[in-house]
Amino acid sequence: MENTINTQVRADSESQLSPNSELLLQLKDVSVSYSPDKKAVQDVSADIFSHTVTAIMGPSGCGKSTLLRAINRMHELYPNIKTEGEILLKGENVLDMNPMKVRRMAGMVFQRPNPFPTMSIYDNVLAGYSLNNIKLNKQEKDEIVETTLRGVALWDEVKDSMTKKGSFLSGGQQQRLCIARALALKPELLLMDEPTSALDPISTNRIEELILDLKRQYTIVIVTHNMSQAARISDNSMFMYLGELVEYDSTKKMFTKPKEKRTEDYLTGAFG
């Protein structure tokens, strides 16, 4: 039974999720457990195509952040969390790769803006290089900082205060700086864990515009508890409930004709 559901999801993926682009990330029966008897994420399978924005939504505690963090192996901070299954990034299983390499291929943006408080704005953008001991000359550094900050539409606001600390910026600017920090390493995939939940509506709007803009170059997976945000910015949506992937389809289809009753109930506000 479960197999049929999975095949169905995959069949849908191929036909509708993004016919024109290549397969970037494949989740195969991914389970994450915090303790041996309790799975926070259960047998999730899904294919994510490049240059798409995929929203993971669902009520609190449904495992959406847990799933996202499994992709770049952030769970390894906590030894009691176990990840099973296969997560193929460009055909390679991230669970077998060097975690440092995985995290450079999959950048991450967090719920709260977290620029490094001891580093300047300039150094924050380059943190991915300096922390990994990658040596760059001044010209390369300047170029990366400028292109990345232009990419996140922050350059004009901060070009005269490069030496100021990252915490000097406003919340929305800090979050864009964090996106720049993740993008400076030129990742294949950008994972965003509720990146606007700590921001005001105007900053949220700017980040959403940015996400739509970044889609041309990057593939984005974004966790959100905000349904209208998912509707505004994503191409495809996953709906998770109690650790299960209930439905994965193009956003348009999911918001208009959900296949599952539970999805419909969630989208119409019956729970969540």
């Binding site: 770049n72 952030m74 901070l77 995985v102 995290r103 977290n114 922390l131 915490s167 993740a182 390493l185």
Partner: protein, 308 residues
């Protein structure tokens, strides 16, 4: 009719409650004011001892403050007696104590700060392990060990095997006394660093050691620095362990294997010699000023480098 009676009763009751409430509010306000007053008086009482101490030291010690205090060693009892008889200020200074204190503090810093900071980081990073629980309780117990006991133990460990009192032995005892303070303050400041910074570093592909050394420690640096400075303040005036380890010396000694003087040891010596008694106050004043200045610096650093 009935209706209007009820309404009337309602109004009466309303007035009554209003009256009751206003008296309660007045009572509460009065109570608050009295409480505030008592708290203010009591807290200002706590400031009095420090000012009285400073005043006493200044009053009795200012006569001896001069440049030679910092450039000359402690005078002999004879010189002091002659000066006293001819009613002149006592010659000499406390250079031997000053140099000994600086020497021993430097050695104690080298011994205790690396160990203390690394242990503190370990405790903050492994909050729940049994081992760190044990380290934490033992650290607390170490903090409670009386300083004279530390002195006795270091006497047995260092002075006896080396067959001599020495600056090295003194610094070992100071380092032992500094250690628990540094460990706990490091642990507390590392815990203050938001966990999201660690995640951010990890998400950029940095290794664990890089994250600790290049993100968490710089973020907590203000706390680590302040904690270490306060630990230095704390042991600067320690006398009991030094009596049993460094012993004291009448000249400036920079040889770590030789007995060495220190400011608190000089105070003790001056106390034991009636001819030198006048120097007690000046030396104590200096020691207190040093400690206060370091304390104030530490407080300002903590404020300036606070994690935002």
């Amino acid at each position: 009719m009935c209706d209007s009676i009820f309404r009337h009763i309602g109004i009466l009751r309303h007035r009554h409650i209003k009256k009751l409430m206003s008296s309660t509010i007045q009572y509460r306000r009065a109570k608050d004011r009295i409480f505030l007053g008592v708290v203010c008086v009591l807290s200002s009482l706590t400031m009095i001892p420090l000012f009285l101490i400073l005043w006493e030291l200044l009053k009795k010690g200012y006569k001896q403050i001069n440049l030679s205090l910092f450039t000359e060693v402690a005078p002999s009892s004879m010189d002091a007696m002659l000066a006293r008889i001819s009613n002149e200020p006592i010659p000499g200074g406390i250079l031997n104590g000053l140099s000994g204190t600086v020497l021993m503090l430097c050695m104690a810093i080298v011994m205790s700060i690396p160990v203390g900071i690394l242990s503190g980081i370990y405790l903050a990073e492994h909050k729940d392990s049994k081992f760190s629980g044990a380290v934490r309780s033992l650290t607390d117990l170490l903090q409670g060990v009386p300083s004279i006991v530390v002195g006795v133990v270091v006497y047995a460990w260092v002075v006896r095997p080396m067959h001599s009192y020495s600056a090295f032995a003194g610094s070992v005892s100071l380092a032992i006394m500094m250690l628990p303070m540094i460990i706990r303050s490091t642990e507390e400041s590392m815990k203050m660093v938001p966990g999201t910074l660690k995640e951010a570093g990890l998400a950029l592909g940095a290794s664990y050691s890089t994250i600790i050394l290049r993100i968490l420690v710089p973020a907590a640096f203000g706390g680590l620095f302040t904690g270490s400075l306060l630990a230095i303040c704390r042991v600067m005036g320690e006398t009991a362990p030094l009596l049993l380890t460094a012993l004291g010396a009448s000249s400036v000694n920079l040889n770590v294997t030789e007995p060495t003087s220190a400011i608190p040891l000089l105070i003790w010596e001056f106390y034991n010699d009636p001819n030198l008694a006048n120097l007690i106050w000046t030396t104590s004043l200096l020691l207190l000023v040093f400690v206060l200045v370091i304390n104030i610096i530490a407080k300002n650093i903590a404020k300036k480098w606070k994690i935002q």
